[in-house]
Structure formats: structure tokens, C-alpha cells
């Protein structure tokens, strides 16, 4: 199955992030789709979500998504290439390097939206 300690961590994180994302997706689709009920209802709902708790929640989901996407690519490389299996440990560290490079600006901008933006 998975060899080594990194692989075990990678697996649990991948599983937990995947489950968290599908739960979020269900709520998110319901929320956005309820715009069908018209501007009055929908703008009231958005007003309720102005609480920073919701903004921070989205930042958290984005962080999970970014990990799941990058580690998912690592899994796919290991599954379809022979060098991917040989370099799986290195690929795991590469995931985190890319995670920081993409994630840091994203985190910064999203936090700015939550705490400083707005008309």
C-alpha cells in the first residue's frame, strides 16, 4: 500500500481534505443555487454571511482544496509513471514547496478580502 511515514500522512490528509471538500460543496451549491429564490432572499443570506467566521471558513476550505489538488497530482504521477514511484518522497516535498508558493499569495489576498475589502 503506502510505504513510509510521509505516505501515511499524505494519505490521511488527502482523505480528510477530500471528505471536507465534498461536505462543503454540498452546502456551497445549496447556498449559491438558492439565488433562484430571488434577490430579496439571496441578499439577506449574503448579509448573514458577512460575519468573518464565514470568510475564514472559506479560507480554510481553499487551503484544503489546494493541498488535495497538489497531492492528487502526486498520486496520479505515481500511478502512471515509473519515476513517480521512485521519487514519491521527493514529490511529497515538492507538493509542499508548490503549496507555499501558490498558497501564500492566495492566503494573503483572501484574508485581505475578508478584513479590509468592501464598499
Amino acid at each position: 500500500m503506502y510505504r513510509g511515514r510521509e505516505g501515511q500522512w499524505a494519505f490521511y490528509l488527502h482523505r480528510i481534505s477530500g471528505i471536507a471538500i465534498i461536505l462543503f460543496l454540498a452546502l456551497h451549491v445549496t447556498e449559491i443555487s438558492s439565488s433562484m429564490f430571488g434577490p430579496k432572499w439571496f441578499n439577506a443570506l449574503l448579509k448573514f454571511e458577512e460575519n468573518p467566521i464565514f470568510g475564514l471558513g472559506l479560507v480554510g476550505v481553499a487551503a484544503l482544496v489546494l493541498y488535495h489538488a497538489l497531492n492528487g497530482l502526486r498520486i496520479i504521477l505515481m500511478d502512471f509513471t515509473s519515476w513517480g514511484v521512485k521519487l514519491q518522497r521527493q514529490l511529497w516535498y515538492a507538493v509542499w514547496v508548490v503549496y507555499v508558493i501558490l498558497g501564500f499569495p492566495m492566503l494573503f489576498i483572501m484574508l485581505k478580502h475578508v478584513f479590509v475589502g468592501g464598499a
Binding site: 460543496l25 439571496f42 481553499a62 492528487g72 500511478d79
Partner: protein, 134 residues
Amino acid sequence: MMAFRARRLEEAKRLSTSNLELLWWVFMRVSGVLLVFLVLGHLYTRAVLLNFHHDLTYDVVARNMSTVTWKFYNWLLLFLSILHGTNGLRYSIDDYLPSPRARVWVKVIVYTLVFLVTVFGTLSLWAWNYTPVR
């Protein structure tokens, strides 16, 4: 039909208990690659370029969802992530629920909820008309 955990395509072929199960294994990878672009694109346009916390309004959402390109984009995103995520959830249910009875019930409930969410999301993308207020 049991979910299995393989590390290579050849291994997946050997371990799969049915063609359908192998198909799901391949689907998880193919949809994964597509979702990288769709999901990260969604995050970039909706959470980075747009101030998702303060500037999101009915008009922004409605305008977006009445554009054919975005209808397609969002619909593909919805379908792929629902199928990918629900199949992933099935792997966990099979792994952690030993009792066959409990498994069936949890799956019935999960699939029903997923189905309702998908119908609701699809309706909101296709079955309404938006006339811009401004």
C-alpha cells in the same frame, strides 16, 4: 463490488473486482486532472479576483450564471466534483463501516442528498431567466 486501493495502473487492473470498479479508479484520476484546472480557476476568479466576502451580491451571481460560458464551466465543475467527491466518500464508507446493513443505509442517505443537491444546482444554472437590473 468492493473499492480497492491500487498504486499503479497494472495493479489496479489486477485488484479490481469488476470492470466498473476499474473504471471508477481511472475516473478518479482523469477527473482529478480536469478538476485541477476547473477548481483552481474557480478559486482564482471567485476568491482571488473577486472580493468574495464583501462584493458578492445577487446581481453578481445572477449575471455570472446567465452567461453561457460560465453556465458550462460551472456545470462541468459541479458534475465532475460531485461524481469524484461522492465516489471518494464511498471509498471511506466501505473502509470504515464493517456492517453491510449500516453501509447500505448510509449510502442510500448520502446518494439521496447528493442527488438532491445536484438537481438543485443544475436547475439554478439552466432553468431561470435573468434580466439585469442595472
